[in-house]
Symmetry: C2
Subunit: 341 residues, 2 copies
Amino acid sequence: MAEGPTTARVSDCVVLAKIPDGPLSAEHFALQTEEVPEPGPGQVSVRVQAITIGAGQRAGLQGSASYAGAPEVGVVMAGTGAGVVEASNAEGIGVGDTVVGSTGWRRNAVMDASDLRVADGALDPALHLGVLGTNGLTAYFGLLDVGKPEPGETVVVSAAAGSVGHIAGQIAKARGCRVVGVAGSDHKCELLRGEIGFDAALNRHSPDFRAEFRSATPDRINVYFDNTGGEILGSALFRMATFGRIVCCGAVSAYDTANPDPSPRGIPGLLVNNQVRMQGFLVFSYASRYDEARAQMLEWIEAGALVPRHITYEGLGAAGGAFVDLLGGRTVGTTIVRLGD
Amino acid sequence: MAEGPTTARVSDCVVLAKIPDGPLSAEHFALQTEEVPEPGPGQVSVRVQAITIGAGQRAGLQGSASYAGAPEVGVVMAGTGAGVVEASNAEGIGVGDTVVGSTGWRRNAVMDASDLRVADGALDPALHLGVLGTNGLTAYFGLLDVGKPEPGETVVVSAAAGSVGHIAGQIAKARGCRVVGVAGSDHKCELLRGEIGFDAALNRHSPDFRAEFRSATPDRINVYFDNTGGEILGSALFRMATFGRIVCCGAVSAYDTANPDPSPRGIPGLLVNNQVRMQGFLVFSYASRYDEARAQMLEWIEAGALVPRHITYEGLGAAGGAFVDLLGGRTVGTTIVRLGD
């Protein structure tokens, strides 16, 4: 008896529909279906439950030099997801395991097991993608290893209500620092001063921003955790204390435009005069210490010293809009798109 | 019998005649005489034999923010000198001792003994003022403690024929690095490649400078020792290797103008993508380790691994012109003005 044609399994995904040459909008993305292959040897099939979107991903769509490589139309959007293993051809990962990895923006991902991390299935996937994922680890290593804050020091965080910023500031508080956040709206500043527990928060759009920035840093700045570059970095450079440290984590101000802000003034003079260290880092360089960081952050979460926040969108179709919201400064905490159980 | 009026002892000095608001010229200085007081308790009188002039002093004449404070017309030029003690009211320093300190541009200096360092009288004062003085110490701590070069790495030095640069490059060679110098004339580049022993040297005024800079750094740059800021810093930023270090030692490009160059492009983006550390320092922060550095450098000098160079001017009247030559890029090594024995 001849076999009939097998019906390929198809599943939802989001592709890049158009390479942006200006501000990002929903039309740059398209919801499509793709065939889901059977897992090969060493592979597993994952039902993705949630993905996260980070501002840093914008650089990868620019077509210019970035550590993320060049973009291509029609390709499924890259990104990190968490989900449950539905089928496994790999040792060490079983059906039902919760895994985290670079699934992309898709409902079903077939991946090499070696590219996945098995995570605690009892925790909300949003935790794996936020505070225990790249963003939380970035905050942890950037603040502690690059910034090296001491108790009593003043720490300033830009994009402070963002996925990285709100964690970095809370870790600095846990270390006994005075923490000042800079964010893009009064609403975010209220959250930072209130629930999130910063000592002060400033709206970077305030007409008196520079004066407010000076007032909020009477003892100058020991550690500036820079998520933005641009004007806020420029203001911070003029307020650094002797032996201050600037943690260069990202350059949000340059992600969404073909014409990035010019560099801030006073480099290298201000670095010399105040003996300031300015250091760029990528979290991937700390991969061998991720477990240590996750254990420490879980401890802080359980003790209530660290309260990670996320904003939730429902369904893959919402992912493009979530990315636009993120870059437009309309989100607080980690951006999570939930795809279902 | 009534005493006659005592004749005050007078001695030569150089004062700031005019605060410069553009390029420095000899007319900004005036040779004058001043009264030399008797040393008070704890003081000594020093016959200054030589002074040194550093490009960094230019910042102190600008009237704007600098770690050296604001300038004043009619005041004796500040600066470091070496000389012999002629009279002492201080314990621990005797007549005939060789001392080094902030004598200013004058032939006779009366100073608190605590502001002087007793040095080896058997050595040429030019050594105390150059390689064993602030410039040599700046090269030593900037390169080794801030730059942390490893054997086999590529080290680039700007203002490489200068007082700091030519020492920094030689220390890097002694550490087993490949050393590329950037200087302001073909003559300087020949000296750097020849007698001074760099692996390569580039004239920053070459029309093909950027291409030559790339060719001279095929493995990119691990340590960039920046004495200039401006365009050379800009070129270096684009050539840094992963985990590269930029030692921000000075900003010569900004010393002699009221309109400093804009900051180089790509900050903070290039620091993030290449995980580069950019660090400003002042040598004074290493004061507790000066003896260690001087002993090490004397050892290298005796072994022939470090050959400090200086350019000599004769007489205080030549000091202003020497400063102008220095800022005009017409000097190699440490600028020394000899005042006599």
